[in-house]
Symmetry: C2
Subunit: 343 residues, 2 copies
């Protein structure tokens, strides 16, 4: 039976907090019946979140009788479910719906949810739940498989989207490429991957290495980045990922106008030149690795401003720069293919 | 009732793998009844492990009738208990002994051990077990508390010992200093701390920050380092710790003659100058932080060779260098106190 999703974003329907919702709407719209947010009822998903076309925003599960799965559609800092959502989740279970969550607080660890799911024969699917237990060994990596990794200057600036879109364009050009998902949203979109930020710290790079070993029969892997090397809360996850996937090239992602670290408003993000330097230094401990292209998220700019920003960044960094949603990914894909040829 | 330990190192009684045993013998000898290694029975702990004086090495629990606790004395890569030890652990439980373990494989998750412990009313104490669940916030850190952090060029080079010995010397000089343990062995020695490598990746820096917030009523904290920024398996843990404790100064630890990365024999450790550079760069993202002293582990050298190495390193790095076991920690403590005065 195929998934028919209601995506819960109640009271949090902004593109930043509801990034899981937005990405599933963008990449899996055929699976989505409705978005559930009683505070925004009657709109379309496109009107509410800028993506999802005419998929309706509903105020109650009654309005989506065909849905069989409730998806928790937000990714708040620290990954906790809002208290006010507990009754909605319980009501979904009572209707016989499965519930899918990417939060750190596992639904299946909640005694009330677990009992309800048992009573109603539904599944609680915690995407972040894992049992990774192997350290990285730096053994068996194939050098004929090109590894590209998206990194960024902060959380939620477009690292996952850049990785997915680059892979999609490579596939359109008939290259054998694969998106390597490393976060709950990427996993929901791709159907496989590893939720690295929820792995026991000693085993994060090992988990990433195993993902690479599993998929390196493809010609090109594009590994989704997480957090940033300068985010005090998540930098360790970022470095485990960087050292676990041992990339040959980096795509640097940034959001124009993002000035302070997510969740720490009095901490200014260092300049992008410094972000590039730190990533190249830490990626190059054992083999050279450079930023080969830049994905600019210019949501906040007009078309003209975006073009000015694009040129300014391209001049400063001397690599292709583009906004994936405005310009597509062709300049970045060309940079990937050039790296592949040059190696 | 005070702990009377038998330390299990069966078949692994070398100072590298049995570092937990060595450290407890060094810093808690009054708690240790015996070391259990049937392959080395009849020796003293000092003869076997270079520490522990006349504490006997025994071949069976029968030889330590007063012991009430079995301590798993090794820390293998990846943290798994050797299969051959399972019967020894079970036998200890059957005798009514508590069992303390710092391994990633939790004793309390083993159904047979858990049932036996219940039957015999003993405790299974997994030092690495934790429920850390808060991200770092970079909020509330007191600048009148000096934070020193020991870092290194590889695993098991003396970062914990350096931190403990510096704190002990500071206390001898009547400063209000505290050792912040971040690994299972340090926790066993100090009686508190956080096993950072076993925390869920997103929460490592948060767990470290909470340790700092809890103990910053002391004047000086010396935070034990873990792994290294260039170890592909553990670099993320190292960076989470570095960014979680936000040190004012670093003590760089290295072992003379250590040339390849622990567990990855074909990977050469970068030169110590590069290790210093990487640590200072990553420690200084938001505030300047430098290496203020170097702890050299010169076990493998003669006295004369060690002195030559010490001078060479001091010339190259222009900071105090000493081997803690040969020279004590006074030069490092002076560097800490100088940093405290200069701030």
């Amino acid at each position: 039976m195929s998934r028919k999703l209601v995506i819960l974003t109640e009271g949090h329907s902004n593109t930043h907090t509801a990034k899981t919702a937005c990405s599933v709407l963008r990449y899996r719209p055929e699976e989505v019946e409705a978005v559930l947010d009683g505070t925004q009822q009657g709109m379309t998903a496109e009107q509410l979140l800028g993506v999802g076309g005419s998929i309706p925003v509903i105020g109650s599960l009654d309005e989506a009788p065909n849905a069989n799965t409730l998806l928790i559609g937000i990714a708040p800092p620290g990954g906790k479910i809002p208290d006010s959502w507990l009754s909605v989740v319980l009501s979904a279970i009572t209707r016989g719906m499965d519930v899918v969550s990417g939060l750190h607080d596992f639904l299946s660890d909640d005694a009330e949810f677990a009992q309800a799911a048992k009573n109603h024969k539904t599944q609680l699917i915690d995407v972040r739940k894992n049992n990774e237990h192997e350290i990285a060994r730096r053994n068996g990596l194939r050098e004929d498989c090109l590894r590209i990794h998206t990194v960024g200057h902060d959380c939620s600036v477009g690292k996952m989207v850049a990785a997915i879109e680059i892979v999609n364009e490579l596939k359109r050009q008939e290259y054998d490429a694969k998106f390597i998902a490393t976060g709950q949203t990427g996993i929901l979109v791709e159907g496989d991957g590893c939720p690295v930020d929820c792995v026991v710290a000693d085993f994060v790079s090992g988990a990433v290495e195993r993902l690479i070993l599993k998929h390196q029969h493809h010609d090109i892997l594009v590994v989704e980045g997480q957090g940033s090397l300068v985010h005090p809360s998540y930098s360790g996850v970022t470095l485990s990922l960087l050292h676990g996937c041992l990339p040959h090239g980096l795509i640097l992602c940034y959001e124009v106008g993002r000035e302070t670290v997510t969740g720490i408003p009095d901490l200014s993000i260092p300049p992008l030149t410094e972000i590039r330097r730190l990533n190249e230094i830490m990626a190059s401990v054992y083999q050279p690795c450079r930023v080969i292209g830049i994905a600019m998220n210019s949501n906040a700019l007009t078309q003209q401003q975006a073009e000015q920003e694009r040129r300014r960044t391209e001049d400063a960094f001397q690599v292709p720069v583009c906004d994936i949603f405005r310009h597509g990914t062709k300049p970045l894909v060309e940079a990937v293919l050039k790296l592949k040829q040059d190696r």
